[in-house]
């Protein structure tokens, strides 16, 4: 159930932020991306809950990085977007692009 449902807005944002963070996609970096690029202040609780959910849906994958001094000796999870995650993101974008087609006027007016 819900397999064909589109990604939620926040889920998209989190996936994109993971992609943007590249090879430093640890929790703090993802939250910083969301804050800087999307202007969204996100509580850690909501973020980790979403990350876990995306992982369960198979859109995210995480691997463990060994403890370092920066992380105060804790092992950390580095997140990356799975192939399925990329597809769903692109699906979502295509759907939006289709819906936006021919509405540039509206966009123009709104901005202007």
């Amino acid at each position: 159930m819900g397999e064909r449902a589109f990604l939620g807005e926040f889920e998209q944002m989190v996936l994109l932020a993971v992609l943007q963070s590249g090879d430093v996609a640890f929790g703090p970096a993802i939250s910083a991306e969301l804050e800087v690029r999307a202007g969204r202040q996100v509580s850690r609780g909501a973020l980790y809950a979403t990350l876990d959910r995306l992982e369960k849906k198979g859109l995210l994958h995480w691997e463990i990085e060994a403890a370092s001094s920066r992380s105060r000796g804790n092992r950390r999870r580095r997140f990356s977007v799975t192939e399925k995650g990329r597809e769903e993101l692109l699906d979502a974008r295509r759907a939006f692009d289709n819906l936006w087609a021919g509405l540039d006027d509206l966009a123009g007016r709104t901005v202007g």
């Binding site: 929790g27 909501a46 980790y48």
Partner: protein, 863 residues
Amino acid sequence: MERMLPRGIVREDVTGSLAEEFVERVDVHGVGAARRWYRWQAAGVAAHGALGRVHGFTRGEGMRMLGADLKYAWRAMRRTPAPYLIASLTIALGVGANAAMFSVVNGVILAPLSYPDADRIVRVWPEKRWSVEMESAVVDGTTSFERFGTMMDGSLTLLGEGEPEVVQSRQVTAGWMEVLGGLPHLGRTFRPGDDFHEEGPVVVLSYDYWANRFGADPMVIGRTLDLSGYGVESRTVVGVMRADFTPVNGDPSLWVPLVKDPDVPGYRGSYGGTALAVLGPGVSHEQAIGDMRRLIPSMQDTYATQFREIRHSPVDVVGLKDSVIRETRAPVLVLFGAVTFVLLIACTNVANLLLARTTARRKEVGLRIALGAERGRIFRQMLTESGLLAVLGGAAGVAVAYLVMPVLRSQLSTHLPRADLIVLDVRVLIYALLVSLLAGIVFGVAPGLRAANSPPGSVLNEHARGSVAGRRTGRLNNALVVSEIALSLVLVVGAALMLKSLVRLGHVDTGMNIEGVASLDLLLPAGTYEDLGSRQALFSQLSDRVATVPGVEDVTFSNLVPMGGSWSGIPYAIEGQDSGAESLVAGYQVVTPAFFDVFEIPLVAGRLLLPTDVAEGEAVALVDRGFAERHWSAGSALGQVIVSAQNGSPIARVVGVVEGTRFAGVEEPPRPTMYFPADQNFWFVRHILVRTAGTDPLGVLAAVSDVIHEVGPNLALRNPATMEATVANAAGDRRFFARLMGAFAALALFLGVVGVYGVMSYAVGQRTREIGVRLALGATSGTVLVETLRRGMAPVAVGVAVGLAAAIAGGGVLDALLYEVDAADPLVLVGVSGLLLVTGLVAIVVPARRAMLLTPVTALRSE
């Protein structure tokens, strides 16, 4: 919080990255901000983690599920509305009463006083012993108080504005107004110079008095009023207080300065004031008391009289709010406890109702379980249903509370301080919501568990009522009955004890006959009847004229109305007796000779007062039996001389001994008392008391008033009242609280009976098949009846025992509300237990009779 997260790498990562960012934030925002951020984030993580772990779904899904549950619950209610309607009404009753009573607790006990720095305002004990000199000494000699003020009660007579009017007033120092921080609506309040009449005598009006008496005329400022009293005949209006200013102790119409200089007219050197102070920031009550104690030795000589008294009534400092609600806290909390009991009983009833519903719906539930519904899901569903029920009932309850609020407020305003603060505000609404939800959980858990634990097989196979489940049902039913009976019993015991107190009070021997006696306050305007001679002439003229009024049998004058709530005591000593360190105080009554006839107080020895005991004659006094026995035997009191406690100079010689009375009040034990002839002490006479014949004492009193006005047109009269009303008033609070408690107990008993009846009907319904089988096997209907009664009465008896134990253990709570009745009064306990057993029996007999009348055929067909 961490523990709520799943173990292993996830927890490590989450806490690790939080720690990492914490370190970064310390550099940028500082330690405090970083710490706040960390706590906030950790709480968020824990909340999300906990949700995810317990339910295995996220918040969004949770909300959807709740929505579905609510819809399902709503449908279930629509399908069979009757039981849910009854349940809602029961909850509405419980929550409504509870919310209304909480609004009382909230307004009267919890809400802060409306003064600036209210939490630092204290009353300084000894109460009613302060003088302006002491205020000055404290202000100069201590450091604990930021502001300090003194107040004395009194009244003034307003002349020249129509009928002479007696106006409730307060004499206050400028400091008093500063302590309360009251602001003027017009003009100004008092300033230190007013304490010396620097600008002549002034007066500040209350907003209400200004609005009602002077038509809210702003030009009143600067006007001179013929306000006579406190040695002054007219005063200039300098201000009007704001409407929201709340005076301490009653509602005076105006304030005048309490003069500090003995050479200024209006100076009142006598002590009798109340002191109020604002503690300096951070100063504790103990520090202030210590400060006062250090000061007292240096004041001992100067204010010997005051401090002779203070020695025996220790200095204390009490928060103003505590002192305002001192007498109220106990009854209000007891009543609040009582409605909480009512609510619990209501909850029990609803739990039982829902249990019955659960049984009725066991097929539906069984089907869902068999189809794979999780038990947790079923439990949630049932709890959602009771939650919805609770919120609906609670909303109706708030509506009930809203409707009774005006009645409650007006009823309470004569019995409680701060009754105007009793409102349905946000706090009360939040409280009602929480109580409703809590109630929903309380009465929802049992049916929920029952439903969730039904084994799928047995539920679908409807005849398999397993013995285990049956026993569990029985235990739950019994528990419900036990708690209903126990809770009701505690309440009924409380009400019965309060009732017994009232009965006790009604039968107290006061030592005087008040039947047909009525009283009237009499005030002489200042500047009139200034010498004892003219007063004496006035009173003898009044006495003669009033005696001729039809219906008047006897007339007397006194300084106090007996049992009217006030009592005047003075320190004294006995000539030739060393009173040692003990300071002797006895009641000080000034009366005319007819007093003892009016109240029918018998003479024990010597003689009564005579018309010949006049100012020119020897100063004489009567004492009562208690006084005589304090020093001598009643017989040998005659001829003894009462002397001043300060300097030993003679006050009066004892010429007679009368029986003791409860002059100070019905509830007060008799106190040693002295009676002085009015002809020698007319200064103090303020009341006229008449014994009337016939059935209309107040009508006679009206005629008496007319006659008095004929004699002295400028005499002000106030408070016409029968003595019966005066005495009843004094016990009015007690009667009111007892009535409320009685109402709650009746409600509890009613709900309890309905509940026990419900449980028993349900139990009999459950056993219909079993009874049918037994009847078929040859049991007589008699044995069925006895068996049903026995099974029903067992938990009732246990409930009575539990309730008795609770009532005895918690009886101390009631002590403050009882009068000469032990909280464990055996008669009350036995009587109420009997009552509960009988009511329990009545509730059980109906369903038991139904069981008895069953025939095997109908019983077995019912399944």
